[in-house]
């Protein structure tokens, strides 16, 4: 019988955690940068509004 489970499937577990952390980390970056960008955009537009 194959005994891939002898190690308790560690490879699959490691892959699960790596994927989770990478995905959530990417989402963190995306979220923070999108807020920053949108805020700058708004500040720019608001300035234009008050100039007129």
């Amino acid at each position: 019988m194959p005994s891939g489970m002898a190690g308790g499937g560690v490879g699959y577990v490691v892959a699960s955690y790596v994927i989770t952390w990478v995905v959530l980390g990417a989402m963190l970056m995306r979220t923070v940068s999108s807020v920053r960008r949108a805020r700058a955009e708004y500040d720019q537009a608001a300035k234009g509004e008050f100039r007129t």
Partner: protein, 237 residues
């Protein structure tokens, strides 16, 4: 409570910085703590640790789609564009976690069941749920008019969220390869603790993600409003 012109809103109230730090530090703590303290399961060894990512991801995805449901209904009722933006933010975060759930499930299914994928009721309904919300996000990006975009996506969001209880109950209603929900009594206390800790951590993260994405969407719309107002000659609400 309800401004006369709900859609002439200004910039949002930013999410408190401490919430973000709390969410991420607690997440790191929950993950490391539960992995380090969990002994290998009697049947499947370390694969049990998949429970600390797969199950919380699924639950927060369901929760986020629940937010989509409530926000979409509110949007249709009050025509408040902010509710539409909240629904969109939740749909995005929910889709992310739903996709993650599918991938993590496959990484567990392969060594446990012997297959990456099987067309059983739980897996298939989850995939459909994921596709509906990917469709929701695609639809949003292709409809220009904010009002029409809001109404169309509210309809899709509500119908999509109805699928959540179907996914949840699928393991009870049909014979599936996927096991039924674990009962707290069927879990060793150490696993239950790790699971609950991670569910709390994922929930905090989800709240923070939705809040910040909502914030970005609010800024974008407020910028458009301001630009329009400027073009119309300095309207300043």
């Amino acid at each position: 409570m309800f401004p006369a012109h709900p859609n002439q809103f200004g910039p949002p109230k930013p999410a408190p910085a401490w919430l973000g730090w709390l969410a991420f530090l607690f997440f790191v703590f929950a993950q490391v703590f539960s992995v380090v303290t969990s002994p290998a399961d009697a049947m499947m060894g370390h694969l049990q640790k998949n429970m600390y990512v797969h199950v919380p991801a699924a639950w927060v995805a369901f929760g986020a789609f629940g937010v989509v449901l409530v926000a979409s209904l509110y949007f249709l009722w009050r025509d408040d564009e902010r509710a539409d933006l909240l629904a969109a933010s939740s749909a995005e975060v929910g889709s992310l976690f739903c996709g993650l759930t599918l991938v993590l499930g496959m990484l567990w299914g392969r060594p446990t069941w012997g297959v990456w994928w099987s067309w059983d009721a739980r897996l298939t309904t989850t995939l459909v749920l994921f596709l509906i919300f990917v469709g929701y996000l695609a639809l949003r990006s292709f409809v220009e008019d904010p009002h029409r975009r809001g109404q169309w996506s509210a309809a899709v969001g509500i119908l999509g969220a109805i699928n959540v209880p179907i996914v949840w109950m699928s393991v009870q209603w049909w014979r599936t390869l996927h096991q039924i929900q674990s009962n707290p009594r069927g879990l060793s206390p150490v696993y239950l603790r790790g699971l609950l800790l991670n569910v709390a951590a994922f929930t905090l993260l989800t709240i923070w993600f939705i809040w910040r994405r909502y914030e970005a969407a609010r800024y974008e719309r407020a910028a458009e409003h301001a630009a329009q107002a400027a073009a119309l000659g300095g309207y300043n609400a």
